[in-house]
Amino acid sequence: MYVSPVRETLITGNKTYKDVTNDISNPVEGKPGKFWYLGITISVIALFFGLFATIITIWYGIGTWGLNKTIGWGFSITTFVWWIGIGHAGTFISAILLLFRQRWRTSINRAAEAMTIFAVLCASVFPLIHMGRILLFFFMFPYPNTRHLWVNFNSPLLWDVFAITTYFIVSLLFWYMGLLPDLGSLRDRAKTRMRKISYRLLSFGWTGSMKHWQRHEILSLMLAGLAAPLVLSVHSIVSFDFATSVIPGWHTTIFPPYFVAGAIFSGFAMVQTLMIITRKALHLENYITLGHISSMNKIIILTGSIVGVAYLTELFMAWYSGVEYEHYAFINRATGPYWFAYWIMMTCNVVSPQLFWFKKIRRNPMITFVISIFINIGMWFERFVIIVTSLHRDYLPSSWSIYKPTIIEIGLFIGTLGLFFTGYFLFIKFFPVIAIAEVKSIIIVDRSKKQVKNADSEK
């Protein structure tokens, strides 16, 4: 077997196949620690706050929000785009990195895909309740109705419905198919009756037969091949919601690539946030190593720099186009009433990831964690800047207005954070957080079984 002298060890600690199964299954089988209980309690409280805000919104209507005639999209669409963007990193890791044969993806893809699913779930809450009459949500789908009128296939908002539905279903299938072998591991290790029954049902009768593996491998590759353009299309379509309109600051052709880069950027920041906590809490430092954190930080520099260039390009185009509305929109972003949002966005998204050029910082989990939080905040403000700042002063100064979120809107935002983290905490309790079978396929265990080596190293 070829051993690279250049690449660093992917899985440290000289693990055997048995060690891998044990290390990753133990957190699922043991009692969760104090940290887990604390985390899920806070998340569930946040979730209930969000539930309360949702009920108020549905009961009284979206008049409970701070929106007005000028600013029809506020917190909810900002948060919607933010969550969809976060979801993108999961698919990027599991699909695009699979196609590029990046072996380090095996330690983080499972958790990142789970993150995608919860993030898309959180995102889909907002368009639904923003419709005002949630019980009529089925109007979104093209079904034969008594009015004989179909949905508008020319509208990016409808494309969104199709894109996000497809994205959710494909991500769920991809994630669950990948989980089957590992659920089989848990089933075969199960001691209690409850665990035996539930994991037998969940593992779909996985046996590890070579025929299953052969199809499983080709299925993963094919799904990755489909999910890669899918993930690019989803955020492109989300950006069309803005780009096809005539609002200054929205009406630009740069939006699709800029949104996709931003999505992957914010998603990787969220993966870092989750992974740094997970590796510490579940003692998986040998599986999610500093090398993994560093690799993800490199992607953050790349996508963060693309986002930075996009910001500058927008500014340049606003000036170069000679359109005074466009011109004003950007001056207003930097110096208008929402100047703070613009400068938070600039500092968090453009300046902070540049620190990762330094190897010391790139390989430091604490600093990475802090920067990842900054990026999460920055990317939320990016969407806020794009949506609220562009809308609040449009062509007609008499209709200029100011938007302030109400407690209900903030509650909805906190509620989706609660939903996301509740989902994630339940996931790390009941499912293997790292793809056991995939990690086994990238380590090399010496035949004598005394000495263990790694596929990518001779260390």
């Binding site: 020319n154 590890g208 353009p229």
Partner: protein
């Protein structure tokens, strides 16, 4: 002669603890032309399907066919809706506005292909909620690489046992199917 009388189908199993041992053993088994029932591994071993003589999976073809059905039906449906059933000018676009139909066509293509491949995989592999597939060894999902050879005559079973033992398999035994 006794050896020629057909007996019930029986299986011989033995496991290895290292993928390289398994691959070496499967090569020997193929050389001796012993019929392989199945091989069970904790993780996918690249090239094993070729060495063991498995046919290529047709899942990609299935995905292609259903993807094509998806794109044709999505594009065809939108065209029918906006040119035949209820022509309506929206946003100054023509009735038959091809670029506007592309995103949905694309999404439906992917949705159909993905669903078809996943269900094809599950049905073909007999996997699903409540599937009762036999687990030959509980450690297959941990670190055992199990080979199952089949034989309907005792000579075949004997030689299967011999080959497995000779290649270093552990716990070689005959099991009833």
């Amino acid at each position: 002669m006794k050896n020629n009388i057909k007996e019930d189908k029986k299986l011989v199993s033995g496991y290895y603890e290292h993928p390289d041992d398994l691959i070496d053993a499967v090569r020997v088994i193929r050389e001796k032309e012993l019929p392989i029932e199945d091989i069970f591994t904790p993780f996918p071993i690249h090239g094993l399907d070729e060495i063991a003589g498995l046919r290529k999976s047709r899942i990609p073809t299935l995905g292609f066919i259903f993807g094509l059905i998806g794109s044709i039906s999505a594009f065809g449906f939108m065209t029918w809706v906006f040119t035949v059933d209820y022509p309506l000018i929206i946003g100054g676009k023509p009735y038959f506005s091809v670029p506007a139909f592309i995103p949905i066509t694309f999404e439906v293509t992917i949705l159909f292909a993905a669903l078809a491949m996943v269900f094809g995989f599950l049905i073909r592999s007999k996997l699903g909620m409540g599937a009762k597939n036999r687990i030959y060894d509980k450690k297959i999902t941990d670190d055992h690489f199990l080979v199952l050879l089949k034989g309907d005559s005792s000579t075949l079973l004997e030689s299967a046992k011999q080959v497995l033992s000779a290649t270093g398999a552990m716990d070689v035994k005959i099991i009833e199917d």
